[in-house]
Amino acid sequence: MGYQTPYAPTRSELSSCIQCGLCLPHCPTFRLTGKETDSPRGRLTAMTAVLDGVTGIDEVFTETISFCLGCRACEPVCPSMVPYGRTLEGARAEISAHKGGVLRRLRGWIMESWLGSPGIMRAVTWATALVQRTGLARIAPRRVRSGLRGLRRIGWRTPSLRGRTFEPDRAPVATVGLLTGCIMGPWFAEVHQASIAVLVRAGYRVVVPSGQTCCGALAAHDGAADGAGRLAVRNAAAFRGVDYVVANAAGCSAHLKDYRHWVPGDALSDDWRVRDITELVADAVEDGRLPRLEGGRGTVALQHPCHLRNAQRIINQPRVILEAAGYQPADIDPVCCGAAGFYSILRPDTSSRLGRDKADEIRRSGAALVASANPGCEMQLRSHLVGEYPVLHPVELYMQALSDATESRA
């Protein structure tokens, strides 16, 4: 009984929950079932029950913890500041350690070795591009099919950015290291291009360290803690020397900000500082390092990724960027869209229910396009909007507006 791994939720983390219940209505799974077992308070109490040996890591506990989206909507509303996301990762690590199982180990291996390997990612990208260009998608199983619908059109090969440096045309404000991520590089190549262009324009020197790898968020969220730790250590070394590590996927920036939990003390530099790209770009707009462009580009539905809003409390920055790009942002209810990393594959029913609700809300918003600062959400939204609306990263929209403005002046 009790916990076995060093990742386990600790007594002090758990006892910070005073069980007031104020988080309940903000939890999407509680809203679906109305059950205490599917609420943040219930999950924290369950984790404490295991810690105290009241129950073991049994079926009910596993289900309670697996059903959680990891959206962390329970965190910003908790006056007691319970670090729920951390305890969830710990509980998932414990479940993995306890259960083992071939499938679970296979998943852990994929998440560390595949996502961490550029070669395998290239092969997967090639295969996906092939599927997109042939009729193969039609015979794929339902879960895969809806995933494919969410993808951008993928190029056969994307030239690697690793090892390159991009200099601004003046003395740099700071040097930032761009995380290219596991799948972002090949699948969201345009987001990287826009990110680099906008950052350089804002006066940053952008380096793309070659020793970097997947941030490890997906592994950490799934309980593959050892693998997540190894990935984190590699990145901690690869990004040494930059002023900021910057990521353009909310899930990645949130996880990079949590590296103190994942990297042993001395392996992480003391000035490990991480920014989501929306923070850097919004700052630059506000400092006047990036221009505010003319308005009149219409309404854009602004989706708030959970790992931006709840995990990093980044709420206003995407709006600043979109307004600077000349759009009128319309906020979409911040409840989780159901993508939630691998959740959409592991629990397709809950995931699509939330995805459908989100799509309906976007349709009602009167917007012509959608902005999302997280690739997972982007895919989920595109998949559920079945091609009705373009879905893009706010920084991409800003970059487009910037080049339109440059062209019209030329």
Partner: protein, 481 residues
């Protein structure tokens, strides 16, 4: 009813599964553990937990439980602080969260039929387009259910002017101890006959299960001013409260918090509270613009004459919301001071606020318990919050002893046991402080009239021995029955 039923009861469970399906019946060790407690400190032991969706299901659950000789304990969101939803002696925990339909809003008559599981704030949000809201606004309003509000007769900051829940309930559909369904009250503001509705409201789940409610909706005020006034001392703030009331003003809300409380809230919310001040008074006035402005000015004047350090008026709806959010998150923020907290709820006459406060701090010092204070100053409803660490041996007992002293102190000053959180298990043993044997007996007989066999929430509210015939004891000498 059987005395204690702590273990599982598979026969009962199987009957309930036949009724509701397996997804809605929970009795694993972990599930029972999660439903053993509300937001307070006591823990019970559920036999089985059911999620009901309709009135008919609630009635059938009651009949089934009764057949098995097991009590029924209703539960909404479980934000109660007095263990009302805690199944002390086991029983079926009947959860209403899925009965969360707002059935119909009658905009003309300002009423709505709602399910008991509707969340208080959801109801006000749903009625905003009609320019109305549900007036009771407990600090837990974002989470607690209308059913829970009814059962506890809950209040909130705005109950100073609007009154507590009982003033906002017109009729109730109730499942009785026999599993029948009755409607008490009606759409009429002053129904004829005995006011059973008024008896059910505040009965903490001991008389029946509320399955629908006809609630009164309150028109949103045309204008509002919310002000935060900082003082060097609690005394100055309390003097201001007395001054405001003496001037004949009845603000919509009048709330106070002390410095420790402000600091804890500010740490989380960054609302810009004046953390260097000794006390903060939140005052809100509502009405037509001219009146609101005049009243706000009068309050500011009274505050100034009582040495206010600063008077800040919320400039936008967002600022107002932030001020209220800070007030309403007070309880949660306490955990930053220590892992456990015990929130008290007592009332003293407003005139004795200052001396009561002084004694509250004194009790805290004596027991070495951090006392943080936030309260409905307008009606003398104190909420001393004790922050402590329950893992220290013997600490919980000390805290409970301190809590009892607090209550005794308030009753001594002519106050009452509970402002709004209810009696539940928490204050059951203190009832005799306030009520005579005859009072208690009258209450016990009401209970018997509704629920002679004790199906509903046994052991709550009334202390053992309330009935003059309780447990076959002879009538106490001199008692009049």
């Amino acid at each position: 009813m059987a005395a204690t039923l702590t273990g599982r009861n598979t026969k009962l469970r199987d009957d309930l599964i036949r009724l509701l399906g397996a997804e809605r019946v929970m009795d694993s060790a972990l599930e029972r553990h999660l439903y053993a407690k509300d937001a307070g400190v006591y823990r019970g032991n559920p036999t089985v937990v059911v999620m009901i969706e309709t009135t008919e299901e609630a009635a059938q659950v009651v009949r089934t439980a009764r057949r098995h000789g097991v009590p029924v304990v209703a539960r909404g969101a479980g934000t109660g602080l007095s263990a009302g939803a805690v199944p002390e002696v086991g029983g079926v925990v009947l959860v209403t969260t899925r009965m969360n339909r707002i059935e119909e809003i009658d905009a003309e008559n300002h009423t709505a039929w709602v399910g008991p599981g509707v969340i208080n704030l959801d109801l006000s949000r749903a009625t905003t387009p009609f320019g109305m809201h549900f007036a009771p606004d407990p600090s837990s309003q974002s989470a607690c259910t209308v059913g829970g509000n009814i059962a506890c007769n809950s209040g909130g900051p705005h109950c100073l002017s609007e009154g507590s829940t009982v003033n906002h309930i017109l009729a109730l559909e109730v499942v009785t101890d026999t599993g029948d369904v009755m409607i008490v009250g009606s759409g009429a503001p002053d129904p004829v006959g005995l006011d059973l509705r008024g008896i059910i409201v505040g009965s903490e789940g001991t008389l029946g299960i509320v399955t629908r409610a006809l609630v009164k909706l309150t028109p949103n005020p045309p204008d509002v001013r919310t002000m935060a006034v900082a003082f060097a001392t609690i005394e100055d703030a309390a003097a201001t409260v007395s001054g405001i009331i003496a001037a004949g003003l009845i603000p919509a809300a009048l709330e106070m918090m002390d410095q420790l409380m402000m600091q804890a809230i500010e740490n989380w919310l960054h609302a810009g509270l004046p953390v260097e001040a000794g006390a903060l008074l939140l005052a809100e006035v509502t009405g037509v613009t001219e009146a609101v402005e005049a009243e706000a000015e009068m309050i500011a004047g009274i505050a100034q004459s009582n040495k206010a350090l600063s008077v800040q008026v919320a400039a936008s709806p967002a600022e107002r919301e932030l001020l209220w959010k800070s007030r309403k998150s007070a309880f949660g923020a306490v955990a930053q001071a220590a892992p456990d907290y015990y929130l008290h709820d007592t009332v003293v006459p407003r005139t004795r606020l200052v001396e009561a406060m002084r004694q509250v701090y004194e009790i805290g010092q004596r027991y070495q318990i951090t006392m943080m204070n936030v309260f409905h100053a307008g009606d003398g409803n104190l909420h001393p919050l004790m922050a402590f660490d329950a893992s220290e041996p013997g600490r919980l007992d000390e805290v409970k002893a301190a809590a009892d002293e607090l209550v005794e102190l308030c009753v001594e000053k002519g106050g009452v046991l509970s402002g709004e959180h209810g009696i539940g298990m928490e204050k059951r043993h203190l009832m005799p402080l306030l009520f005579t044997e005859m009072d208690l007996d009258a209450q016990a007989r009401v209970k018997d009239a509704f629920d002679a066999e004790g199906v509903f929430n046994p052991g709550k509210v009334l202390p053992e021995g309330s009935r003059c015939f309780d447990f076959g004891r002879p009538v106490p000498e001199g008692a009049w029955v």
